[in-house]
Symmetry: C2
Subunit: 247 residues, 2 copies
């Protein structure tokens, strides 16, 4: 920091470039903050500008339009959960697959509770009038890839609840899951295990969504502990489904 004047480097970032990066980050932070106040649908460029003390027109030096800002936020959110999940897995990498699964889902839930509006940006109802561009696909796969990685290593489908499904049911579901096999590295996973994996995805993201969106009022006790316990039980249930319930 003290000796940062080494101008001899090839790729020097000029003062302007550094300022631009900093201000872009500041704008994104303000936008994230706006999201907390107001929700994605009514996120407003003018409010963001107000928060950082800029003229509203200045934003257009950084983002070509409101939709573009939204896209940036969405990508950021996907990368954010993705990273959180990757770290949780890394920290638990010495433990069993089931423990890694638990660690990752806990980290995702914690992230969701801490960033509810970023969560609903990517897992809630779609933002009206906004169409996600293809840039969002890659970051969106980080979290699923972590989970599939764990399951590929530790699932023993024969030993799980899915094994009790009629083969015809599994077969027709498997036929429907062509795109999943094409998109993700799941070649080594059986149809039944893939179905169970996706169901656990649905269940646990559904559980987080319901908790966040208030659909568990009058169902689950409002205290943080109770909510966590309930989520824990659902994780364990999913591990039974997946057949990786060795602690």
């Amino acid at each position: 920091m003290a000796a940062a004047e080494d101008t001899s480097q090839r790729r020097v970032s000029t003062a302007r470039e550094r300022a631009r990066a900093e201000i872009t980050a500041e704008l994104l932070a303000a936008a994230r903050h706006q999201l907390v106040e107001v929700g994605a649908g009514s996120l407003s460029l003018r409010a963001v500008a107000r928060e950082v003390g800029m003229a509203s027109s200045a934003i257009y030096r950084y983002f070509p339009s409101r939709d573009d800002l939204l896209t940036r936020l969405i990508i950021e959110a996907y990368d954010d959960v993705g990273l959180v999940a990757e770290q949780a897995q890394a920290n638990a990498s010495e433990q069993s697959g089931a423990q890694q699964f638990r660690a990752v889902w806990h980290s995702v839930r914690r992230w969701a509770l801490e960033h509810p509006h970023q969560y609903s940006l990517i897992f809630g109802s779609p933002v009206p009038g906004y169409a996600a561009p293809t840039d969002t696909i890659a970051p969106a796969t980080r979290l699923p890839e972590v989970l599939l990685g764990i399951l590929t290593e530790s699932t023993t489908a024969s030993d799980s609840t899915v094994a009790l499904l009629p083969p015809a049911t599994v077969a027709s579901a498997a036929a429907a899951l062509g795109p999943a096999r094409a998109t993700m590295p799941v070649a080594s996973i059986s149809d039944a295990a893939l179905l169970a994996a996706l169901t656990s995805w649905t269940t646990l993201l559904g559980a987080i969504s319901f908790e966040l969106f208030g659909h568990t009022h009058n169902v689950v006790d409002d205290s943080a502990n109770c909510r966590a316990d309930y989520f824990d039980a659902q994780i364990d249930l999913m591990l039974l489904l997946l057949g990786s319930h060795h602690t």
Copy 2:
């Protein structure tokens, strides 16, 4: 219709009253239609007025505010799915519990696909800036009551996957589910079965939400058949969880 002039009745509906009821219904229909176009967050009184060809100020003869209109729509939506589910169960009442469960969930999914915005009004991310009044609680319980009714009659928890959960896990989840026991008629259901029931609720509503909100792109084939097959498989998986997998 021809002989409708029997004015002798005690509770006659005057012409004004009839007109009022009709127009209220027409406004609600227009609002529902607006919802389809635009999503709940940006439903606008003026657009509703435009659609029925009234001055925007006239709406205030029927609804005191925009929030009140939203509340009416929410209640309508809950009653609508509730009714659909009740009818599905009634039609299948001669069949097994598992079949009734399947019939009800299929009817719910079908309703959701036909009325996506009414669905996300009640099961999606909350409408920003809107706080639901208590009038919505009663209609919101119709669907869960149908499902719990079926499960109370047909669940045999001992025979299900939940039975494999460690007792400690079940116990702490059960402690969290106090409000559920207080709100719903579930006295005769075991803790494990209640947990499984709520998990099936989460999973299947989650599945419908993800399908509707486009989160299954690149995962499940886009064709209607494939989607239905996938949903079917998830229902069956939940029946295994619930221990009511006798056809």
